[in-house]
Symmetry: C2
Subunit: 538 residues, 2 copies
């Protein structure tokens, strides 16, 4: 493909992209292809001779687009959003152009330096404590991972390393003087007793991280009676239980906006319990660092909301002055008492997947755990300690130039534009929830609207209806809604096998008319489900 | 940014991309900015009001491009390549447009299905045994990771899981009937004795994977006397040593084309030693599966060369019929005796970073180790087993639509075009190496040319010159070359503290005139270094 062919192909692609977005409201949200559809349409092998772009372009339209589920559709109310935006697409375009492995500073200084700058910008926009900025007092900073899964896995890795260093040095006099093999034996044996904790409604990525890292994992209860969130009491109970079993807790994954219901863990009580735990451990002779359980705050989705200052109190509504119940809420300042935080700009901040931004209060924890050195990557800049080598903040070595799209998005929308978008999403959630409340005969809200997410179920026909009957009705409602092809929502199951439906109104393309359309579809379909039930029982 | 603004911005960007590539030969390869340059040029915070594209575009040219090291330059001879190509850029453009989290099939069937199809195409193009195809006899298949680091970490995770399942079940009667906690205790204790092995010249990613996963790691010797590769003898020695220390080897990371010298491990002898080891273990009463050490073949860079059939013998030159030394070499068929393989299309096959393609002989090993289930991700397609959910083949949950760019590249160039490119790279390597041999007074080739990589050093002035003197001369040569700004090469240190220079000729933009230019610069600079030495000693 020469310059002219590229110019022609790319110019045509741009028109197609514009047309694609313009057509989204008219397309069924979810692909309706059958499993295996594509293999039937494609040859068994790559072509021997190169093909012209025109043939490929046609196949995108004819063979790929039918197999696409349109996450950018205004009628996509499922999961969480996964936004694209024009400036972000331009970011990907330039990033692809400047392709580099970028595993250290000299590989392309702009890749490293822009990342540091825009993550400081982002931390400020989100109202994070200055400890999470690269310029802050505790050597903090941010890094862009692909996904929240990687962010959590990275933090868990660093937490295990931090805990093991501290506890081995404290418990074994002269540890540093032991042979490498002796150190390794002690470390491996100790590691086999570590246990990571995560909220009972935390995302599956926390458990998977432990599974991959070969670490034990226990859930902290997050019962419906507590709003599906974890609190100090449940944490204390779990800590005592694992300690009694001879295990050593070192890490707690908490959630600011769970996947199921956007619940926010009770950070004030969690911080208090961990403070007490630290004091007890120290009183029992344990090292201060080894008594410090690493708390990660996963705000993969809801973290984006923090650009709107009025949402920050929700992270920790407790008063900042314990003696004055009317003092300002602690809010995001509670992060000072924790260790790391992540949010996905690719979920709710107009930046293309992948873009999970993770912040840490002390970047040395990452470098200690993840630093690896090979002579062919050595250079004066890295050796001199003048520059950041993000390879030591993450699992892989190489990295994409992801900060470009972040920079384009932050500049194109500005703080003002991003806040307006978040506020619109939240207000659409309220609009949708309100529409449900006008029909208590059909719907019962379980949680929310919270961060543009409403979780509800079909109404009970009698107050003492068996829960499974309500759940069946809810599942049938969800099935018919998604089968109808006009909108897409997510069915889930909450504590006690309670079927529920999640409706998320965070897509950039979603406006009042789409939310009203969804409400109408819900009412009509719920009435249909009731009619079906009536017909069956008749 | 509305449709018109995007159209205008994107159209202008396309011209800039074309101009950027056209200008690469004239630009210094390596950025010459000082650490911290960018922060001085940018505001301290994101703008409050959105900015117009024109301001952003200007900043890309004025502030970002000076901080870019031009990996696509024809004068980039460093590390390994990290190619971009026009069809691949179009792939990224469409992938960004169809943005989706794509963690399961229904999230966008085309994302999953195209990946399966193009990785089968690629496996065929590379001449992999059919066991590595999704349609093959052993339930194999391929998956696209971001980097080789992730591929190796994923395979190591699966290998540990496979080994632990087999050995725990074999060694503990009634293991399945034990309580979850009892199983976990046995598993954790056993895991603490596992040891992963990797070649002494294997990429740092293998060691880092073990570090992250909390597994022990030992190097298998890959001495200069054996061409910097591992062989059966060294492996046997390492196996005996770790066994004697009470450790359990479960994984071996080998390399098809090491980073330093593009060495290829001696697979025939490795396979033979592992077969003997298995027999011994079984004779000693160990379970067959637990006696099977997982062998991963990391062909991150050189794997791409396999599209040219004449390179395949180099993977295993031993005769396929042990009784007939003239029979065809085993070649890639040796992978049948191993477990997994990866190669980075983003290194030498015209596909933008990130695109590391990993293949496995039995995909159940991955799903067993990495499968995680959360109710909000459940759906009929996944539950019915009809579809592939690649989230269970990788560390993260979500995934980008990377197969699009692979598809665009394979179709645009065809098998023919890719082979021609690889052959040109290799022949340019031979041309460069030949130029060195015409000046034995200045240069001494250490290895290669092998897969377009030549490793050499400054010539010794006398046969008995102290090695450190030659190394100092080599380092000075490398320093002056890279300081000159016209070309970029990599300095490294081989066994015995031998300084060496790596020159890689794999860039798509590199042609004969660039290689000849590099040769000329090397001759001139080497003569300058000798003159410097003379002046000093005078």
């Amino acid at each position: 493909m020469d310059d002219n062919a590229f110019r022609e192909a790319a110019t045509a692609s741009i028109e197609e992209i514009i047309n694609y977005y313009a057509s989204l409201g008219q397309r069924p949200v979810v692909s309706t292809v059958e499993p295996g559809y594509l293999r039937k349409l494609l040859p068994d092998a790559a072509p021997e001779k190169g093909e012209a772009w025109e043939a490929i372009r046609r196949d995108v339209e004819d063979k790929i687009v039918p197999g696409i589920t349109h996450w950018q559709s205004p009628n996509f109310f499922a999961f969480f959003p996964c936004p694209s935006s024009y400036p972000s697409i331009l970011g990907e375009l330039y990033s692809a152009t400047f392709a580099a492995a970028a595993f250290n500073w000299i590989c392309s200084p702009a890749v490293t330096e822009l990342e540091t700058v825009v993550l400081d910008w982002l931390a400020q926009l989100l109202g994070l404590p200055e400890e999470y900025l690269s310029t802050g007092p505790t050597r903090g900073g941010g890094v862009i991972h692909g996904t929240a899964s990687e962010a959590v896995m990275t933090m868990m890795t660093a937490a295990a390393d931090k805990y093991l260093r501290a506890s081995l040095a404290a418990d074994h006099a002269g540890f540093d003087a032991l042979s490498e093999e002796e150190q390794e034996d002690l470390r491996a044996a100790r590691r086999s007793r570590l246990v990571a904790l995560g909220g009972g409604t935390a995302h599956s990525s926390a458990k998977k991280a432990a599974q991959v890292l070969g670490l034990r994992y226990r859930s902290v209860p997050a019962p419906a009676s507590n709003g599906y969130r974890i609190s100090g009491d449940g944490l204390r109970e779990t800590l005592d239980k694992v300690r009694a079993a001879g295990l050593e807790p070192f890490f707690l994954s908490t959630t600011f906006g769970t996947t199921d219901t956007c619940a926010v863990d009770d950070y004030a009580s969690i911080a208090a319990v961990l403070e007490t735990y630290r004091e007890e451990q120290r009183a029992a002779g344990h090292d201060a660092d080894a008594s410090d359980i690493w708390v990660h705050v996963d705000g993969a989705y809801a973290g984006s909301a923090l650009v709107a200052p009025e949402t920050r109190a929700s992270m920790c509504p407790a008063p900042s002055d314990p003696n004055d119940p009317n003092s300002a809420p602690i809010g995001t300042a509670v992060l000072r008492r924790f260790h790391s935080f992540n949010m996905n700009m690719h979920k709710w901040l107009l930046t293309n997947f992948d873009c999970s931004c993770a912040f840490v209060r002390d970047r040395r924890w990452l470098v200690n755990a993840l630093g690896a050195d090979a002579h062919y990557y050595r250079n004066d800049y890295s050796d001199g300690g003048l520059v950041t080598d993000y390879r030591d903040w993450q699992l892989p070595l190489g990295r994409r130039f992801r900060s470009l799209k972040v920079w384009f998005v932050l500049r194109t929308y500005g703080g003002e534009g991003l806040r307006a978008y978040i506020r619109r999403s939240i207000s659409l959630g309220e609009r949708f929830a309100k529409s449900l409340t006008t029909r208590p005969d059909l719907f019962e809200i379980i949680t929310g609207p919270q961060f543009a997410l409403t979780v509800f179920r079909a109404a009970r026909l009698t107050p003492d209806e068996a829960p499974e009957v309500t759940s069946q009705r809810t599942r049938r409602l969800c099935e018919l809604i998604n089968g109808g092809g006009k909108i897409w929502v997510t069915g889930t199951t909450l504590e006690g096998n309670t079927a529920a439906i999640r409706v998320m109104t965070g897509n950039f393309s979603t406006h009042e008319e789409h939310v009203d359309g969804a409400s109408k579809i819900f009412v009509e379909t719920a009435e249909k489900v009731l009619a079906e039930e009536k017909a069956k029982s008749a």
